[in-house]
Assembly symmetry: C2
Homo-oligomer: 587 residues x 2
């Protein structure tokens, strides 16, 4: 179901009940761009820590706009042994609802826009009919402003749109070249005031002229007039002057305030859908969903935590189908985890085609006619992939038993990490995996160096892997850990380049952070950094405590809760030998 500003209000109850009755939800977003960072390889270094990757995405991706939000609800009908689906495709746009509301600026990335255009994406629908939204801060701020205006009004202070006693203290200073114009307006108003007419519409004029008119009329006619700026269909502003008694004037002002209040409620718009998803607390699946989740929170809810380690609660249960498909037992069965390929493979042997039926009144998608990159369709097939994989695990289609099996194997809130060699996921609400990387060197060199210079430098060590950080530094992964010491020894007297072990590099960075007041992390014995979070109390919405970080002592004392505990021990990781190549751009 396609939802725009035009039918949003009418659809809202349908959306609410679909979420209410669903067993799980699938989501997907389309964006105006992916990354405004320097270049992809610097932005997604293969040896980023999840914390670093989070910080990069927050810094370089949040200024894009999520302008299409796909939601597909899945309800298991045990009588039919089928899932009943309700797909929604929301067009979203931050239309300023008044001249004082936030005027959002967002970035477009030509390649992304060009790609979407080539897929037939309808930009006119987004920009012309997108549903507006506000995050919680904006909503609160605007409610406050409206409240304030109302109070001022009650106290007789007036607003720029109304003539009130306070604005008539001084006569307007009218520049010579405007005197004729203003005098003519005053004459017209005098005729209105003394005549039988009730209302006078002036011709459209400039903002400066409108200001002069307001000031002059408020000085000359302190009572008995209601003056208001209106817009023609062509968005030209003009002034309407009405003769009113005091009671009528107040009634009009009250009317206007009520209209404002209603407009404000409308302005919250699409965020209401996100609030409903959030309140449902249900399972939300997505494919490679890290950016979708970050954008959804950032755009419709609240600012993202400054750093990933800030305690943050997610009110729903997140599961990433790309991570699922690249993990045992599925990684053996699926050799391409892109959404389109996964959808094809997950209905072939050994999987069974998922049994689904589109609910009455919803246009049904046909997977034979791919509509990839329409958010509603992508959400739909993400749900299909999840059903296939879940059924395969549970060896049944029954919802409850299937899902029990999924939870046993797949801890939630773990989101697939693109292009990281040895860490498969980011844990959005808890501590992340942090391998020791004792076969990795941190190398700095002159900015003229290219990958081939690094290959040459390390030619004695066989197969190496280079992960560029910036123009003058890179990680170099050796194939054998015991080569590290040899490399360090031979580099001791080098002048043009410098080599550090990964551990030393991390320690150096940590020391820099501590200088800036951020706490150290402690290294565990099992090769992973262990750090503990104070139990995050359950919350009805997204949110994070104001406490930015925790000291090591506090951390050691804090207990693990169900979410941030050792859930990842159940998880089978891809090997961490760092053998995957990641610099494959351009092929």
């Amino acid at each position: 179901m396609e939802v725009t500003r035009q039918n949003f209000k009418d659809c809202l109850s349908t959306v609410y009940s679909a979420i209410e009755e669903a067993d799980f939800l699938a989501i997907d977003g389309e964006f105006s761009g992916i990354s405004d960072g320097p270049n992809v390889s610097a932005l997604t270094n293969g040896l980023d820590t999840p914390e670093e990757r989070y910080t990069k995405l927050k810094k370089h991706s949040m200024d894009f706009l999520m302008f299409q939000f796909g939601l597909c609800t899945f309800r298991y009908d045990s009588a039919k042994s089928k899932y009943i689906t309700k797909p929604f495709n929301f067009y979203v746009f931050p239309k300023p609802f008044s001249r004082t509301s936030p005027d959002i600026k967002f970035i477009c990335q030509s390649s992304s826009i060009d790609f979407l255009a080539s897929q037939g994406f309808d930009f006119n629908k987004v920009f012309g009919h997108g549903i507006p939204y506000l995050n919680q801060d904006e909503e609160a701020q605007l409610r406050e402003q409206t409240e304030e205006r109302r109070n001022q009004h009650a106290n007789g202070l007036g607003t720029p749109s109304f003539i009130s006693p306070s604005s008539s203290k001084v006569p307007a200073h009218v520049p010579d070249e405007q005197k004729d114009y203003i005098n003519k307006v005053v004459e017209k108003v005098e005729r209105l005031f003394n005549g039988n007419g009730k209302t006078l519409n002036l011709d459209p004029c400039t903002g400066f002229q409108r200001k002069l008119i307001y000031q002059t009329l408020s000085w000359k006619f302190p009572k008995g007039l209601h003056v208001e700026t209106l817009e023609t269909e062509k968005k030209e502003r003009y002034i309407q002057i009405s003769k009113v008694d005091e009671e009528e004037r107040k009634r009009r002002e009250q009317q206007k305030l009520e209209k404002e209040q209603e407009e404000l409620n409308n302005a919250v718009g699409f965020s209401r859908v996100i609030h409903a998803i959030s309140k449902s607390g249900k399972l939300v699946v997505g494919h490679n969903m890290l950016l979708d989740v970050m954008h959804t929170i950032h755009q419709f809810y609240c600012p993202l935590p400054e750093v990933k380690s800030d305690p943050f609660s997610i009110p729903v249960v997140l599961l990433d189908t790309k991570l699922m498909a690249s993990t045992q037992p599925f990684k053996e069965l699926i050799n391409n985890t892109s959404l389109a390929e996964l959808e094809k493979q997950a209905k072939e042997t050994p999987f069974k085609p998922p049994q689904v039926e589109t609910a009455e009144g919803f246009p049904s998608y046909d997977t034979a006619q791919e509509q990839l990159h329409e958010a509603g369709y992508d959400a739909y097939i993400t749900g299909l992939c999840f059903v296939s994989m879940a059924n395969h695990l549970g060896k049944t289609t029954n919802f409850s038993s299937t899902f029990g099996r999924v939870w046993a194997l797949f801890p939630f809130h773990l989101l697939f990490l693109m292009r990281i060699i040895d860490i498969p996921y980011l844990n959005i609400t808890g501590p992340d995996l942090q391998p020791k990387r004792d076969h990795v060197l941190y190398v700095t060199f002159p900015k003229e160096w290219k990958t081939s210079d690094l290959y040459q430098l390390f030619s004695a060590f066989g197969n190496i892997q280079v992960s560029w950080i910036d123009d003058t530094s890179a990680f170099v992964s050796l194939s054998q850990t015991d080569q590290v010491q040899i490399a360090m020894n031979t580099s001791r007297y080098a002048e043009s380049y410098k080599i550090q072990t990964y551990a030393d590099y991390i320690q150096g960075k940590q020391q820099e952070k501590e200088k800036l007041g951020q706490p150290a992390k402690t290294w565990g014995d099992d090769g992973w950094v262990k750090h503990h979070y104070p139990s995050s109390t359950a919350s009805a919405g997204f949110g994070f405590s104001r406490k930015r970080s925790i000291s090591p002592t506090q951390g050691e004392q804090g207990g693990d809760d169900g979410v941030s505990g050792d859930g990842w021990n159940h998880y089978s990781f891809p090997d961490s030998t760092g053998s995957k190549k990641i610099k494959y751009d351009g092929v």
Copy 2:
């Protein structure tokens, strides 16, 4: 005539000849936004100097996209005593022409996008079919890259898309989970190599898999194969492997390079139209055209000068109809200089309706059915306004005599400045007017202060005017210059606020600049700053000398050329009493 990527090549010669034969050109642009600055009043302070305004626009407006460019050519037909017009409406979009070409990011401002959407602007046409473009730097860089690739090729170094000796030095390291997949590919290729077939298309696969395939094949089959990545209609990338002899391989590579070269030429795209306008050296009129001119240079030509005083040459003759309409003798005749209003007034008495005719083959615009904010239409009516005003001055419709009269009264390259109290224009290639402003005070105060606090502080001085700079400072214009000393005296012991004269404030800023290595300007005796530029040598294109600024001594010695001379002395200014109000936002 609507021009998109689809008909651009076919239209180009029509555009060229229209420019060639024209007596003057009118232009207009539509943008994805206006200002990403803090707020309009801080961005456009009424007492900005032209230099400051330029710097603000450069900083806060150039990241928006000019996505529609309107050009209307006007040729005077003396037989018909009419202008023959050819209007063009170009849709422009920086479509990346390859995966290595610049991936432009641009900002959209919701209010601008919403406004254009409400006017029926076709975003799908822009994003789906916009003509690409490159500025001179990008063009040069890409030509260089293509050249480099060609040279590498000639030297047998190869590119990632071709198997070449250099890439086969080491076998690919294939991660365990990819071994099966790669082995199967190798088997297929072996069958191709030993069989009768010529070509093998692999299924679409991931970039990482493509890299492994390239590496593996280049190791296993160093000769006799041509491997290329192609795209399906759905933009999925797949690998095509062809059996070729050495000659055929080289021919294919050559073919590919030639195709690249042609694509590069196409990528220059719309910039070719700007080059043609630039080369024509003709009169170019625009309405409130400062941003149009800055965007055109920035987007299609070269980076804008860092500061406005950097010598910069404009190859065409610019004339701003909004400045013209707000100057004597027109300011008496026209009370609203917005384009739509000007167009209406400039065909009524005392003006005469401009005699124009749309050239054959061009769809004609009907000014009764306004199509405002379509760039081609706006350019068209801008030209009409110019013709009306020029005819009125010349008291004839004859092109040459009319224009002689225009030049006598209106020096060119002066562009209208929005919302500046006492300086009507910015001189884009020469020195600007800089009034003494000796009735102006610079006031700093606690950030809690509002306009009303300033009115109260200066209540003894009658009518004042406040121009906000930021949260804690503003210019306050007094109505009498002799009040300045009194205000200074009374403020001497104040603690919460501070007052400086405008002259002291400017001097302080100048001293700061000098610390940063920028030269001082000298004050003339006539109340305007005089500073002189070395004669800029005529140039075939836009451009500025690398010399950033000139020392006062050099400046005094430098001669005036025709452009930067005292042309502005002919010009009648609005009074500089600073009496116009500018804080009229929100009315």
